[in-house]
Symmetry: C2
Subunit: 366 residues, 2 copies
């Protein structure tokens, strides 16, 4: 293989695929970057078997060939190269030379035949969505994905198409985040569960503008096509929680509050709550005031926020983090908090629209 | 105690003194911030017994008093307060209330009488220096302070006044960094050794502009006065290495090279050197070229840099980090490397001036 490529293009490609590279693996080849130059162009691939990323790069191929390079070292070397064109040559014994200006690095490649194939996903059932929209949907749900493995299905997010709406749902047993978007074109109904880690990496590959992405799925895998890049993620097996049955349909108390004020107050209260180990913040709702309190051996915090309220007074308590998490990702200035009783979930909604919804369980207080 | 203070002023004060706060101590009071409001104004103090910082803040004192507050929690609470004036009150039982807009925090203070006194340092022997100059002197030597404790005196930097020159020297047995400045006024000759950690914190308190600082020392302590802040550091006991005897006076090979090129090449070579564990980079100097090579099981790196040279050809090897460390802190575009033999130290100097000098030992190669 002999090829010439701009340093910046190569760095972009490495940064793209490296997200799927295994960090520590018993198979050294999974800690590598697969490089193949042939009639289709130059492609890089990384995979940790759960997630695979393939990208095509612009370059000048003088002689075809393929190899797997030790990923971390290759990436670091390329990032530190002088600015200019990079020449990469590989001989028949997989000896690789990377040359750029006065810098020349030689390293031993690994056998490309030992690199696992990525799963094939046909485009029989696909839909299209704008990059910033998908990025936003991921950002507003991923934080609620379960981090412990006791119920493996909850370590993923549900992606559901029903009646031309795309819904993403994540929940961990204590809170649930839901984000909905209308699709621009009719699409086959489906329910798939994408592992949180894979979804998070997909989110990082998406631009705030840029072309639409195509998403296609089969039984076991989903493929997301972003320009010259394909991300293939293994799906989680099993049935997701029937989330519609959990969502409360009614409320006895509605609070309208400035999201920023609420965040700042809970953030302060949680400093003291943290000292008390349980991270508990109490809400007292009455007379158009929300009073937040927390305490521990170290002392106590009292916070008063003006609100607009409808319905009954209420005293209820929450794990502070479940509130700060959601307030960080909501873009709305004013939000609604809907309560039923002090032992049933609170629903956090934007005042306008129904694209986002968040449900959080209270902590029982005596 | 009752006082009113601007949040930003209080945060500035906390940030200043917190650098001397003990992180984990058997004496809880050392993890605290001492606060005293009296006729002298409001002062904050932290000390870990080795380093002490005291600062005076502008505020409105309604009633005098003093207390020690749990430092980390107090600092976090103040940083997160709403923008505005902060009211702090302390009752006779050391119950502290911090109030700002709708936020009110209560906590229990510690007995201020248990807080250790800072050492007194008289201004009998003092000198004055501009903040940016002292900041620069610290930055250009501190990295060479020894990090292991086998020779405790080397964990500090020497500060020497001789013939109206202030010299700062740090060395760790493998390399030595020296920075010199002429003092604007005659000052008593002295040699003190300031612990690296204390010197580093002093460096962080200095501005790139701003008033001159006053430095005074006695047998056991040095005091640095920066505006309203006093830093008092315990000195290291013992005699520093006679560094003048180490500095080579002659050279057989002189290399003039662009600092940025040399840094980039060593940086790349060190990626491979790192894989080889010993971090070794070989220098080959001949024909107005500097060739750098490194190798490991993973492969090898070859770097070629144009230089101007005088004297003999040379092959010599170094620990890559000892070169990248110094190249990071030199501001000169072009530097001189002076060599004698491949088993004697290399001296790195700016082409212009003699304010800075760096000596590094080679690694023997066979």
């Amino acid at each position: 293989m002999i090829l010439h490529i701009e340093k910046e293009e190569l760095i972009f490609g490495i940064n793209t695929v490296q997200r799927a590279m295994a960090v520590k693996s018993t198979l050294p080849v999974l800690e590598g970057i697969y490089i193949c130059a042939d009639a289709k162009g130059l492609q890089l691939i990384c995979t940790d078997l759960s997630l695979g990323i393939q990208t095509f790069l612009a370059c000048d191929i003088e002689e075809e060939g393929k190899v797997v390079l030790p990923g971390r070292l290759f990436a670091e070397i390329v990032r530190k190269l002088p600015d200019g064109d990079v020449d990469i040559t590989i001989d028949d014994n997989l000896n690789v030379t990377i040359q750029c200006m006065g810098s020349r690095t030689k390293m031993k490649g690994l056998d490309p035949e030992t690199f696992p194939d990525l799963a094939e996903v046909s485009d029989a059932s696909s839909f299209t969505i704008a990059q910033p929209v998908l990025k936003d949907m991921i950002r507003q749900t991923i934080f609620a994905v379960a981090t412990d493995e006791t119920r493996p299905i909850l370590t993923g997010a549900l992606l559901e198409i029903q009646q031309n709406n795309l819904t993403m749902v994540a929940l961990d047993g204590y809170r649930l985040a839901l984000r909905k978007e209308a699709l621009s074109a009719p699409s086959e109904e489906k329910q798939i569960v994408i592992p949180g880690k894979s979804l998070s990496e997909i989110g990082k590959l998406l631009d705030d503008d840029g072309d639409d992405v195509h998403i296609m799925s089969q039984d076991t895998h989903v493929m997301v096509e972003i320009k010259n890049t394909r991300v293939i993620a293994r799906l989680l097996d099993g049935e997701f929680i029937k989330y519609r049955q959990i969502m409360p349909t009614d409320h006895h108390t509605r609070v309208q509050v400035a999201a920023r004020d609420l965040f700042d107050s809970i953030d302060r209260a949680s400093l003291m709550a943290r000292e008390g180990k349980n991270n508990l913040v109490r809400f007292q709702i009455s007379e158009n005031k929300l009073i937040l309190t927390s305490n521990s051996e170290m002392g106590d915090v009292y916070e008063e926020i003006p609100i607009a309220m409808e319905g009954q007074d209420l005293e209820i308590a929450f794990n502070a983090r479940y509130f700060t998490d959601v307030l960080k990702i909501m873009d709305d200035e004013t939000i609604n908090l809907d309560f039923t009783t002090n032992i049933s979930p609170c629903v956090v909604n934007p005042v306008e629209g129904d694209k986002f919804s968040y449900l959080v369980l209270p902590v029982r207080i005596y």
